[in-house]
């Protein structure tokens, strides 16, 4: 059974069809890239999987379960925006996650925060945008979830910080978990992706294992992306 099954999902905003009959599945233990240019429907799809939006048609299942309280226990989600309460300190946020997520590893989070040189009593509002994003990532990756969904984790971040983020992601998720990572910055992530899903104008235009796609097209994923989404 696939960890995540997305079946014939359609979503519109008024007359604008954002996702059109999207179908794919993600098995356990894979790092999957959800690739597409801005406005291709990546964030909408991720929000649907996280039950923050409702689909017009189709179904989404996680470990065979319909979306709800039980699937939220399995998914660790990093949105593309700052979603935490700016008035909270880092320690308060760690305790918040510990209170609500049984799989949250607070010692792991504290270790990562300390490596970052942050004070646990520092409030989020006193931090730079980049530091806030790192704190959010630490919180999300400190869960021992089944499925990590990261929406543009390296978008708008300088190259040095990108390395930190990619390294944090790769060293903090377990082998039996899967990771769905949305990005349009392919070159930084290509080497770690097992599978990719290309999303264009709300439709899946290509999906499969990165090795197979490279062999089939004789192109790197990055080059293929540029070719596929050429303006």
């Amino acid at each position: 059974m696939a960890l995540l099954e997305v079946n014939h999902i359609t979503k519109s905003y008024g007359n604008n069809i954002v996702l059109d009959d999207v179908t794919f599945s993600i098995p356990k233990g894979k790092i999957v890239g959800l690739l597409g240019p801005n406005g291709s429907g990546k964030t909408t799809l991720i929000k649907l999987i996280n039950d923050l939006l409702k689909e017009d048609d189709g179904t989404i299942k996680v470990e065979g379960l319909d979306l709800g309280v039980e699937t939220k226990k399995l998914i660790s989600y990093l949105p593309d925006k700052n979603y935490l309460n700016n008035n909270m300190t880092v320690l308060e946020l760690l305790n918040y996650f510990k209170d609500f997520y049984l799989d949250f590893r607070i010692d792991k989070a504290k270790e990562l925060i300390s490596k970052l040189g942050l004070d646990l009593n520092q409030k989020l509002k006193t931090m730079s945008k980049g530091t806030k994003e790192k704190v959010q990532l630490i919180l999300v990756m400190s869960r021992k979830a089944k499925l990590y969904i990261l929406d543009e984790p390296i978008g708008g971040i300088d190259p040095a910080a990108r390395d930190y983020i990619i390294n944090t992601i790769l060293t903090n998720f377990s082998d039996d978990a899967s990771l769905l990572i949305s990005t349009h910055l392919i070159s930084d992530l290509e080497k770690v992706l097992d599978e990719v899903i290309f999303l264009k104008n709300g439709k899946v235009v290509r999906s499969g294992s990165t090795d197979y796609i490279r062999k089939e097209t004789k192109m790197s994923i990055n080059d293929l992306f540029r070719e596929e989404f050429k303006c």
């Binding site: 909408t44 996280n50 039950d51 309460n85 918040y96 209170d99």
Partner: protein, 263 residues
């Protein structure tokens, strides 16, 4: 999980409310001091007038601000980016809504308690405490049982009406968040429409009761005392408020559970 939600909701609200409580008490004490000094010079007299004005303003802020904070908290959790966190927690929507109701009513009660403490400080400072206590004692000594019941029913009505007010605002926000743009504006429009429906509900319900039970209305006019009539009216209003709140709240839960739109 409800306990954990309450813990963070209370923390969140009291972070803003506790400084307001402190300011209320400080302004009360300053009002007392300047009131005592107002006869000594024109400056103190002017300052006293200003402080009395500030006192009235802070009491209004206390009550209106508490209500506003509860509504704002709900709006932030269901119509803004902050909703990404609360709505991905492994918690039922009904629990989140329950927590908002409990924190909303509790914070209003604490704000009213602070307001009473402030008023009591003024009474004590003006040397009127003994006569105040004696007046209250006499009032309760000679008050008829019906009037005590009326007082209790009035307090119950105020509480259920406040909860119902929160419920209407929560439903307005739930409806407003269905739109992709200007969620706040649509929440406000939804509130106006719901408020009209809410008023019509009370008017038609009372007319309906009067129509199906004409004897009851006649009895109110003739056989029962005025206070007893008021008590019956309060009882009916409490029932009507509870019924409308019991209808509204599941609708809010349904929308936020099945139609959440954090676009």
């Amino acid at each position: 999980m409800l306990g954990k939600l309450l813990k963070y909701d209370f923390k969140n609200l009291y972070k803003t409310l506790l400084p307001i409580y402190l300011i209320t008490i400080v302004i009360t004490i300053l009002t007392v001091i300047l009131n005592n000094l107002s006869d000594t010079s024109n400056l103190f007299s002017t300052l006293n007038a200003l402080m009395t004005l500030s006192y009235v303003v802070i009491l209004m802020v206390l009550v209106v601000g508490t209500f506003f904070l509860s509504i704002r908290d709900f709006y932030l959790d269901f119509a803004t980016e902050r909703g990404y966190l609360i709505n991905t927690l492994p918690v039922k929507k009904s629990m989140i809504i329950t927590s908002k109701f409990i924190t909303g009513i509790t914070t209003m009660i604490t704000s009213i308690v602070v307001m009473f403490i402030s008023i009591i400080i003024l009474i004590i400072a003006n040397g009127e405490w003994t006569s105040f206590v004696s007046d209250i004692t006499n009032l309760f000594k000679y008050i008829p049982t019906d009037a005590v019941i009326m007082l209790i029913l009035m307090i119950v009505l105020i509480i259920v009406d406040y909860i119902s007010g929160l419920a209407v605002c929560f439903l307005s926000i739930a409806l407003g968040q269905l739109k992709n743009t200007n969620k706040l504006g649509f929440s406000f429009i939804a509130y106006i429409i719901l408020y009209i429906i809410y008023q019509m509900y009370f008017t038609f319900s009372l007319i309906f009761i009067g129509t199906i039970c004409p004897d009851f209305v006649n009895r109110l006019d003739s056989e029962i005392t005025v206070i007893s009539s008021v008590n019956i009216l309060f009882g009916i209003l409490i029932g009507l408020v509870i019924i409308i709140t019991a209808i509204i709240t599941p609708i809010t839960n349904y929308i936020l559970k099945n139609k959440l739109n954090l676009e």
